[in-house]
Amino acid sequence: MSTEVAPDNTSDTEQPATYKVIGTRPIRHDGADKVTGKAVYTDDLHLPNMVFGAFVRSPHAHARIVSIDTSEAEKMPGVLATCTSADLPDPWDKVDNLGEGCVNYAHLSGNVLARKKALYKGHAVAAVAATSSHLAQEAARHIKVEYEPLPATMSVLDAMQDDAPLLHDDLITHTLGDEPARPSNISSHIQFKKGDIDEGFAAADVVIEREFKTATVHQGYIEPHVSVALWNEDGRLKIWTATQGSFVVRQQMSELLKMPVSQITIVPCEIGGGFGGKISVYEQPVAAVLSRKCGRPVKIMMRRDEVFEATGPTPGSFMRVKLGATKDGKLTAGKAWLAFDAGAFPGGVIGPGAMCVFSCYDLPHATVDGFDVVLNKPKTQAYRAPGSTHVAFATECVIDELAEQLEIDPIEFRLNNAAQEGTRRVDGPVYPRVGLVECLQAIQKSDHWKSPLTGPNRGRGVACGFWFNCGLKSSVAANVNADGTVTLVEGSTDIGGTRTSIAMQLAETLGITAEDVIPQVVDTDSVGFTDVTGGSRTTFATGLAAYEAALDIQRQMVEQAAQIWECSPDDITVANGVYQGNGRSLSFKELAVQADKVGKPIVGRGAVDPQGSTNAFAVNLVDVEVDPETGKVTILRYTACQDAGKAIHPSYVEGQIQGGSVQGIGWALNEEYFYDDQGHMRNASFLDYRIPTCYDLPMIDTIIVEVPNPDHPYGVRGVGEVPIVPPPPAIANAIYRATGVRFRELPMSPPTVWNAIKGQNTGE
């Protein structure tokens, strides 16, 4: 059994609702296309007269660009255009909120094509379009760039030193308080204080302080970044692209190219994974400029090494976490010092990291200091619950050590201190109803927890995780068809089955089947503004928009029924999709058929901007076996429990939990960017940057807890991100019980584990 929905965990005030569609497992609407090879991803497009673009990238981690000479490349037969940062409008220092975090357009433009300096190896410097992709790659080698190499800084602590090479001469640390006079690589300093930590630590019987490091890791989507741009003679720009948010791409393109959003159409094709890495633009503006220059559609697809070296990753980090507790197992105080590498431009994920470091616990006294630090690595991006996985690794390992020293069961210790309704977070706000306690209890009740783990070199670990989840803007339109089906037009790109989870909410509200809804993801000209598919928001917020559209349809259907039945709309009742009035009764479908003949078309609209976070918690339980000969860690058994609020399509909720857990397992055990002393990534391929294969894993058991979100009609919380948070600390805690060694650095790869075991055995 992979799923155990815990019905006794619904909120105290509400009885579990009975639904006809929600909670069932219909086949996804785009399923047949995707198992037959018919689904159209961006790279599957081949427009008439299309040509191909390729990038020239910096071979240096840090260098001044002295000159760029494109003349030789331009003379090659079949080469149609070249492009450098000089072809992009001068950016201005505008910081904009993209709904999901913010972006400084000067930095974004400088990341798309380097301006005066290349700031990391692989930084795009120029591009070329040619009649074939092979020719474009060849031509790129004939663009001559002269560099003046500069010293690079590659680790977050080094980059913070006063004498570190500066990436940006004008970067002044942003704080809410006084800002320093001198530039540095520290782009921001965030601080939270709650209570009085001196008093808190004085009240503790046990205090533990530890340092942690995590490596830079990549989102690792299987589809590389790819776009096709067509800049038409009428000045309109159309871009087909793989993105988590077509409207956010439009917004970025508008700012970078200084043209109105109304001149730009973004067509979101099917997308092969994103996980936070396909929100920022990279190749899109370059493809657009090349298309403008050569008058033909231009496709740019990155190679896998370009994806690793120049997109994505999420920060490496250095963290120091201190926690105190009393003998009876109550946390008294916490202190965290966090430094995340932002990559080459400011704006990493330190904000949420700092907010999440103690978010699972009720801590009376705490301080948190967080630093965003630039260094010579690619600009970092969000990766599934950005920042939270890093800090959970630190906090959950210290929590485990505290529980051990206090001789308290690790789940009981967490339950003693778990955040719940009314708990004030260290960053200030008080939680509404949340489900951490329920998740811990569900793990306690699980067969996994109750089954003893025996055998040498084996250990069991547990850890918690938190992620906010967000609301943001979503729009849908829903057209009732003459046969009683409903076409649902939406702007949320579908990365993991959200067409269906959104359609199911429309169907539930109208009292029709999921199959009676035909969902379509459309371009930016064809639906209202919709924020990114990210932040675990899509099933929640776009689902809410679909719910509103359904209510709108229902109102119109009642009016039509009143016309047909010659009565007042007030005399009509609707229940479970059956309309009754004036002694008559029709199902939604029957009424739709009649309404089509007599009244105006029925078009429902839904436009929402729900405020707030929906607060997801997860608890993982893992058994590992460590091979003392090789240091290899094998996952023997894995159980991931999560509060989903309400699982609309349980299979895809399980899928999010399983997929996120496995990304967390990869982060814990194998994944890291290896840099040499020149700041060159040495493992920019899927062979050497090793994400988990199915042979590395057991089944991932899931437990879905449902503590309904009071701010959603069906209780949805959003599920996509938090599953990645608990795995690294849960595995570290399990490895400790298997080996006696506490690992405080990610990844816990075989050489690291083997060396530590060997050191322990030889007393080193």
């Binding site: 999901e100 975090g101 913010c102 809410l176 994920v349 969000a382 706000p429």
Partner: protein
């Protein structure tokens, strides 16, 4: 009236971690706060709007809407923006 939780780095200006400020909306509260603690608004706002680096938490609801209404028991927090994956 609202209870404003002052970010620790701004507490030098207010001398307190929490202050009660008059106003019916978050914007009114911030404008009133500026009268009491000159200089605080420019740390929180940019061009008359909330700084793009910040978001609000009004009671437990994360938002960027300055017209959000507040009552005497409403808590207002200023937090970093969050990016999601």
């Amino acid at each position: 009236m609202a209870i404003v939780f002052i970010p620790s780095q701004l507490q030098k200006l207010t001398g307190a971690a929490q202050v009660e400020i008059a106003g019916n909306t978050v914007r009114e509260v911030v404008e009133q706060m500026e009268k009491q603690f000159p200089g605080i608004q420019q740390r929180l706002f940019e061009d008359g709007q909330l700084s793009p680096l910040l978001q609000l938490s009004v009671d437990h609801v994360m938002t960027r809407v300055l017209s959000t209404s507040v009552e005497s028991t409403t808590e207002v927090h200023f937090l970093p923006v969050i990016g999601g994956g």
